[in-house]
Symmetry: C2
Subunit: 183 residues, 2 copies
């Protein structure tokens, strides 16, 4: 892979990574296509070639996020608690992706790559939920599992949970998710 010359070589990935960095630093409002171009050392219009516009870049980010989530869930296996913890781990390791994924207004949710990756993650989530589902109301049990994992991850990322410094989010999530299983 080349990094100099007229053709950058891997500009798409470089810009995507720069976007994750910039959004991570300054939030979803604190970045611009031109700033990403400057970071990558290319002209201000180069990113547009790969992503079209701002929404296009976030669409690519969302698709990548759902793919990463699906990979994480697949590795965790079908057990509900493990799947839930994997969900939390994904969110805290990829907070920018996670933040974008669940704000469909920021990107084109009907994009093919997004739809495909989202369906893949959705199928794995449903599989994890099935391990705790009773015969009646398994739909609601699945939603409860997704909700508690998603809610914990969201509140963690928002800094809404007051925890000791250096606490591992997955460790903190374990006893919380367990509350859904045993009482």
């Amino acid at each position: 892979m080349r990094t100099i010359g007229y053709h950058h070589g891997d500009l798409r990935r470089t810009v995507l990574d720069a976007a994750v960095d910039a959004i991570g630093e300054s939030g979803l409002d604190g970045w611009s296509l031109r700033e990403l171009a400057r970071r990558a050392g290319v002209s201000h219009a180069a990113p547009a070639h790969h992503f079209g516009d701002k929404a296009g870049l976030l669409t690519a980010l969302a698709a990548e996020g759902f793919d990463l989530l699906a990979d994480t869930l697949r590795e965790a296996g079908p057990d509900f608690l493990e799947a839930g913890l994997a969900y939390v781990r994904f969110a805290t390791e990829h907070p920018v992706h996670f933040g974008v994924m669940f704000q469909p207004k920021l990107y084109r949710a009907d994009d093919d790559a997004v739809r495909h990756a989202r369906d893949r993650a959705g199928a794995l989530l449903a599989q994890g939920a099935r391990t705790v589902a009773t015969s009646e109301g398994s739909e609601n049990t699945a939603r409860a599992g997704w909700s508690i994992a998603h809610g914990f991850a969201s509140l963690w990322l928002a800094g809404a949970l007051s925890v000791p410094p250096d606490t591992d989010p997955v460790d903190a999530a374990r006893p919380v998710l367990r509350r859904l299983l045993d009482r």
Copy 2:
């Protein structure tokens, strides 16, 4: 309240409402201070007088949101299920406020009005959680309750839950939140 003349009379409220409308229509990126000014029929710099900058306006929105949430929780009473459903009702009735509140990077989270309102809502939440807390691990039970309500509300607003059209979010949430109580 006057609506014409040099002094608008209630520009702060008007701009705040316009912001909720604009964000609701086009998302957190699809609005500008100047557009709000146009909607209110004032000059492009008028909103800045009340809010300073964009973050200032979102700060006001967040503070108002936490206040509304606290009011909703207070009316619902201390029962966990009722508090959880009230939480979901607030989120679905004020989706823009809810969305802003839990993205601290968008506004000044250390603002006095925000802190005060957030603390008030937090105290009421903790109270609701206490009704299901066992002696051991009440902290985790509280977090589980907050997480499942917050998660359900977030997923609902993101359109991630596939439900029949015209479903009431609170009705849909009830059996889900119950999963945390009885098994």
